[in-house]
């Protein structure tokens, strides 16, 4: 799974982040929380500035994790001839 280390670290910090920064974006690289930002673009720019072009986790701090539904992708309907 991509960003496994970062996701595991987010889970450790999640309760505290939710308490103080719900709705914002956490930037985690490896096991370091580099900051919390109002917008994901800010987090990305800061991550690039600090660590360069490396994998990073920009995580929306929210209680409910979003599930994406993309029928064309998941059901192979993109070019179905029905």
């Amino acid at each position: 799974m991509p960003l496994e280390t970062e996701l595991a670290h987010y889970e450790v910090l999640k309760a505290e982040l939710l308490k103080h920064h719900e709705g914002k974006y956490a930037l985690i690289i490896g096991q370091d929380l580099l900051g919390v930002y109002d917008h994901s673009e800010e987090a990305y720019a800061h991550g690039l500035e600090k660590c360069g072009n490396v994998p990073m986790l920009i995580k929306h701090i929210t209680k409910d994790e979003k599930i994406d539904i993309i029928p064309a992708l998941t059901l192979g309907l993109l070019h179905a001839n029905i």
Binding site: K66, D68, I70
Partner: protein, 165 residues
């Protein structure tokens, strides 16, 4: 207001006028000329480090009103050297699947639509999807997150659609 009027045509018989084909639009869906490039902030970092900036990858995007989130082809982001910035939980018939998400810049060549940047496009293998009649590769699904910035008019009867920004 920047406006793109899109339509698809089948090769008309000799002597016949070229006109939009409702059947082609049914078959392929609304197709937009697209280039995927690296975000401006990444370009700045590469430039500062005197590293080459990869040119945008050309292809097509399909407007997919059934998708809540937009997707970009995995191969394209790898070619551009863009690193993942998150994960998305995609619901499938077999349960949840975790996919990496990427930042990218979309450009719409040949239109007056402005370029725009995104920080959480879902990476997916779009190369396996066929787009018969189009010589260009499908490189993005344009979902409702991107469409939230546009007005979309789908004129199926005339075989046309309009994207206004």
């Amino acid at each position: 207001m920047p406006i793109f009027n899109g339509s698809l045509v089948f090769q008309p018989a000799p002597g016949q006028p070229v006109r939009p084909s409702p059947q082609a639009l049914i078959g392929l869906g609304p197709i937009v000329p697209l280039q995927v490039g690296i975000p401006k902030s990444l370009a700045s970092i590469l430039q500062a480090a005197s590293q080459p900036i990869p040119p945008p990858v050309p292809g097509i995007g399909i407007v997919d009103t059934g998708a809540g989130s937009s997707c970009v082809d995995d191969g394209v982001v790898q070619k551009l050297g863009i690193q993942p910035v998150g994960v998305a939980n995609v619901g499938t018939a077999g349960g949840l699947q975790t996919k990496a998400t990427y930042p990218a810049r979309f450009l719409f060549p040949g239109t007056n639509l402005p370029s725009m940047e995104f920080t959480s496009l879902i990476g997916a293998d779009l190369s396996s999807f066929s787009t018969p009649g189009s010589p260009q590769l499908l490189i993005a699904l344009i979902g409702r997150d991107i469409l939230s910035r546009f007005v979309l008019v789908y004129n199926g009867a005339q075989g046309m659609f309009t994207l206004a920004y």
